[in-house]
């Protein structure tokens, strides 16, 4: 074993961890907000329902890799986009990757939250309505808190997948953990060691992430713990 090489590789790869985490958290933050909006829209009006279904169908049914390509190479073909205020963002691979990752996770997230919404007991919503709640207040205070608690285990799964999905951002020149590992391999041809190092980094990130999700679940669900009083 060439420990010197492993340590050197690890150091280079660790430099990509901040970008990997940034891509994950920024796109998850945008995607989660969008997912809640899509799920609520789908549950509300009929025309919206079809729009959301179409969105989810397309974004879930095509590879994320293609979506990143389409946004990075495709969107600049339109003069309207190049002339719009968005171009300073969309010309950068970073924001293209964020956009693709956000739109993609929003589609999965919308389905997960829809499942959560369906699991909200009818009686809880009815008790809220009969107390005079409706619309935004009803969702904010009763329905979403109950739905998100239901959806959290499945959403945790999606977060873990998102960490791994950021590796696709390397295809549009972003030097996150995977991007750096490809660069090292093309210089050294030592694929095994480099990929093992990269894989172990993803494992550690996801280990910490799943712990955090479990903590969040426990914190949000005091009513599922055994009674203390």
């Amino acid at each position: 074993m060439d420990f010197a090489f492993l340590i050197d590789t690890m150091q280079k790869l660790l430099a990509g961890v901040p970008l990997t985490l940034e891509l994950t958290f920024v796109s998850v933050a945008i995607g989660a907000a969008l997912a809640v909006l899509l799920a609520v829209l789908r549950a509300s009006f009929l025309p919206c329902e079809w729009l959301v279904r179409a969105y989810v169908f397309v974004l879930r049914g095509t590879p994320l890799l293609l979506q990143i390509f389409l946004i990075y190479y495709g969107i600049g073909q339109f003069a309207e986009v190049r002339n719009s205020f968005l171009w300073p963002f969309l010309r950068q691979p970073y924001w293209c990757a964020i956009l693709a990752l956000s739109l993609n996770t929003a589609a999965y997230g919308a389905e997960i939250i829809r499942g959560g919404l369906l699991a909200v007991p009818q009686g809880a919503a009815e008790a809220a309505r009969v107390s005079g709640m409706s619309g935004f207040l009803l969702y904010r205070r009763i329905i979403l808190p109950l739905a998100i608690r239901q959806a959290l285990p499945a959403y945790g799964n999606e977060l873990v997948i998102m960490v791994k999905s950021t590796s696709l951002a390397s295809i549009v020149t972003l030097m996150e953990v995977s991007g750096i590992s490809y660069a090292i391999i093309s210089e050294t041809y030592r694929a095994l060691e480099v990929f093992l190092c990269a894989g172990s980094i993803y494992l550690v990130i996801n280990f910490l992430l799943t712990r955090a999700i479990a903590q969040a679940e426990a914190w949000l669900n005091p009513h599922l713990r055994p009674a203390t009083s």
Binding site: E126, A128, R129, V130, G132, M133, P145, H223, A227, S229
Partner: protein, 255 residues
């Protein structure tokens, strides 16, 4: 005396099944009306139509003299103004058969939720009032417990506290003890009886005949979507005028 709740010629069908066939009830301030009848007679639907949990196909509901405005949309009636409905709903207290407490909140949070967020009353005032109400229903020491950690009787008493915290002009009970183990029925009935003795206006749908006979000022017997018999409990339970009511009451009182 003024009318707290007025229901005029209410009709409601579920598909082909006409559940209410023109029911009128006028509950004056301070009246305790028990509504009895076989399952499927329409008593729960009648109660649920009052705060528009079910939207009647025809007829009128008025709370404290204010009629809930209706409109027709694609041939189906619906309340015309959700703000009016919300205001009227928050002036009533509704107690469900299956409690329907909010699982993610403690008992106290359940009780202050609507006063704080719907009625926009100061939080401190709501908490103080909630504590007094919880004391009254015997749930003071459970104020920080979650519904999942309570017995059915405790959950229902918490749900009654939640309804009382709205400072309701009338209380509606939809079979409040039907989901309870027999040994827990008593504690809930005691609380409801206490409220009746305070002179609160109440409509109680129930299968507890002895309780209904004892606590109410008027009893309504529903059969197949119509009021078959109505009067003071002494008449309805002891000396019914209709055969159907007599048969129903005898069957249930002798259980």
């Amino acid at each position: 005396m003024t009318s707290a709740i007025t229901v005029r010629d209410l009709r409601k069908s579920f598909g082909q099944n006409e559940v209410l066939k023109g029911v009128s009830v006028d509950a004056r301030e301070g009246e305790v009306i028990s509504i009895i009848g076989a399952s499927g007679s329409g008593k729960s639907t009648l109660l649920r139509c009052i705060p528009m949990l079910e939207v009647p196909d025809a007829g009128e509901v008025a709370i404290g003299g204010e009629t809930i405005r209706m409109r027709s949309r694609r041939g189906h009636p619906e309340p015309a103004d959700i703000h009016q409905v919300n205001r009227i709903r928050s002036s009533l207290g509704f107690v469900f058969q299956s409690f329907n407490l909010w699982a993610h909140m403690t008992v106290l949070q359940n009780v202050i939720e609507a006063p704080v967020h719907v009625q926009k009353r100061p939080r401190g005032e709501c908490i103080a009032e909630a504590e007094a109400i919880l004391e009254k229903v015997g749930m003071a020491e459970k104020r920080d417990a979650y519904p999942a950690h309570l017995s059915g009787g405790q959950q229902q008493r918490a749900a009654i506290a939640r309804a009382l915290a709205m400072r309701p002009r009338a209380l509606l009970f939809d079979e409040p003890t039907s989901a309870l183990d027999p040994e827990l029925v008593g504690e809930v009935l005691r609380v409801i009886r206490g409220l009746a003795e305070e002179g609160r206006t109440m409509l109680i749908v129930t299968h507890e005949m002895a309780f209904a006979a004892d606590v109410s000022t008027r009893t309504i017997f529903l059969h197949a979507g119509r009021i078959e018999e109505e009067g003071p409990p002494a008449q309805v339970f002891i000396n019914p005028r209709t055969d159907r009511c007599r048969a129903f009451v005898t069957r249930h009182l002798n259980r």
